[in-house]
Symmetry: C2
Subunit: 348 residues, 2 copies
């Protein structure tokens, strides 16, 4: 699979990242060897997307320590700890960021007797592995998922699940891209995904960049689009999957799953197996974050509703497993009954 765009890259002593706040109108890459510029980019959402934050923070530790390779080991370790603290302060609720920092700390611990040069090499190797593992995982999800896509397919997708959010081709987006690259005749409808418009801003940009025929719709046009444009399947990502297959994902996913059922078309979720949370038996136990009203009221520029009103702004919804045709992971395709298929996957 060809990666058409890298949202972050290690360039031997520096990184290059795409400034996502300039999208969709400008494609601006920033080269830097300064960890404070990267930390600021993470804080201001120039770099975003859960897997990408993990990769970026691992690279950040390389930027923060590389100048101390020739210094004392004490200074090297102090630089690591300072960098770690700086990166951890950028997005305190980003799990992947902390997961990657922890992997890097572990390398530091395991190699505590090595000199700074060797230590840095081991850290660099781990950071590149974190990136590479994500890239490979995306490729596998793409390959498994592409088997489900017919030779001619009109696909509806939601939110942003592509190269902008991951270290590879993405999850749901990766499935679409893999099918397209394998020569299938694919066209895509992307819904705008209110309130933050990731579908309009990011997915439409990625589809255009990849040369996949694509059309933007408002979220509320989905039913009419499915019916009149002969949409053949819907595919979305996942933020968290319960042990029974109930899936939390960006608000609006549940709507689409209901519309898929009404129109008798498949509804697929594509996500890494690490998204499955075995501590959660069913969707009812998933806590859904509610966000502020400003995203809804002022997201487009002008204020769109009166002052002093109530706004309900859930960031995610939970799609019941009975509405999900299959869950596509890097380990293979899971189908109902999900309790069994998810449990068997773990035993592999």
């Amino acid at each position: 699979v060809i990666i058409f765009m890298k949202s972050i890259e290690w360039l031997n002593n520096s990184i290059r990242f795409l400034d996502q706040t300039e999208l969709p109108l400008n494609e601006v890459y920033i080269d830097t060897s300064d960890i404070s510029i990267l930390a600021d980019a993470i804080r201001t959402l120039k770099v975003r997307g859960a897997p990408l934050l993990g990769i970026a923070s691992a690279y950040g530790l390389l930027l923060g320590t590389q100048k101390e390779i020739q210094s004392s080991k004490e200074q090297f370790i102090r630089a690591f700890e300072d960098s770690d603290a700086l990166l951890a302060s950028t997005r305190p609720t980003a799990k992947n960021l902390f997961w990657a920092l922890e992997r890097m700390r572990n390398i530091l611990r395991l190699n505590s007797k090595e000199d700074s040069t060797t230590l840095f090499d081991r850290l660099k190797s781990e950071a590149l592995s974190i990136h590479e593992e994500d890239r490979v995982m995306c490729d596998k999800i793409g390959a498994h998922g592409a088997d489900l896509i017919p030779m001619d397919a009109v696909i509806l997708t939601h939110c942003n699940t592509g190269a902008l959010a991951t270290g590879g081709i993405g999850t749901a987006f990766g499935v679409i891209l893999t099918a397209h690259n394998s020569g299938k005749n694919i066209s895509v409808f992307a819904d705008e995904t209110r309130p933050l418009l990731q579908g309009a801003r990011l997915t439409m940009w990625e589809l255009q960049k990849a040369g996949i025929p694509a059309t933007l719709i408002t979220d509320n046009s989905a039913a009419w689009t499915i019916k009149t444009k002969k949409v053949g399947l819907i595919i979305a990502g996942a933020d968290r999957i319960a042990a029974d297959g109930d899936t939390a994902n960006k608000i609006g996913t549940f709507n689409l799953a209901v519309l898929a059922k009404e129109h008798n078309i498949p509804f697929y979720i594509a996500a890494p197996s690490s998204t499955i949370d075995f501590s959660i038996q069913s969707g009812e136990q998933i806590q859904i974050e509610e966000r502020g009203f400003g995203e809804v009221l002022n997201g487009f520029g002008k204020q769109i509703a009166p002052n002093n009103i109530s706004v309900f702004n859930p960031a995610f919804d939970v799609t019941p497993h009975h509405l999900i045709t299959a869950i596509i992971t890097e380990k293979g395709i899971l189908r109902a009954p999900y309790g069994n298929s998810i449990a068997s996957m773990v035993k592999q």
Copy 2:
């Protein structure tokens, strides 16, 4: 039923109208006896909403002719014709506007032998009737519909169907208002209704103004809101109803009807019986207007997607009659099989 707000009013020699382009942030009323100011207000959408345009254009003819009451009858009739032409040029596709102008022309024809003073009185009486008939029709829809609303109800509604669009309390909005005013414990979720955000801008304003507890949601939050906020029914208006009950209405209505079915809650349409088009056998024959991409891309300030993309922007969708629990009209409540109930209503 108390009308809480008049979007247009005849004030003996002048009109007062609400400048809807100032909503939702400012409530600005304009008093004028100058037909050119009214014509400009219609052209620039300060006055909008199908039934309201009919009322406004009838009042416009009064403004345009009242200065010629003391002049020759020839001058009076010329003033009528000039006013008619001016108003007809404002919104050339607004059916209600032409329907009202035609009613006024008919009065002119029927009273061609009367003097200018009498002619003007007859025209004024017709204009006030056009307004009053719409007000009464809204009240009747409200009263019939309120019978369907339980004592405690969480209601989801779509787009704008209230006093801003009509000469009275509105259609779907009128049902909600009537139930609220009768002492029922009503709370409302209004979806924002992309792309033009009539739900956010107009319905939330009307709900706030009427003192009805209300919460704004994005369109794609509907399924999650229905499930977690215990929405008990959905009600929307209609632009055109086929003889079999299939209903064209603002884009997003079809989505909501599917979600109502999935959650086993009623889905109601409220509309004047004149919305039923007997020349159309089923929804498949309804032509759906597609509008430009600018509404989606640039509607509210910032451009939200890349340049040179495709956008599918249908203004309406068609909800199949099997998803509609009942159609509420001023003549009563229609239920499936709609072919029969609609035909019997006409015979009344």
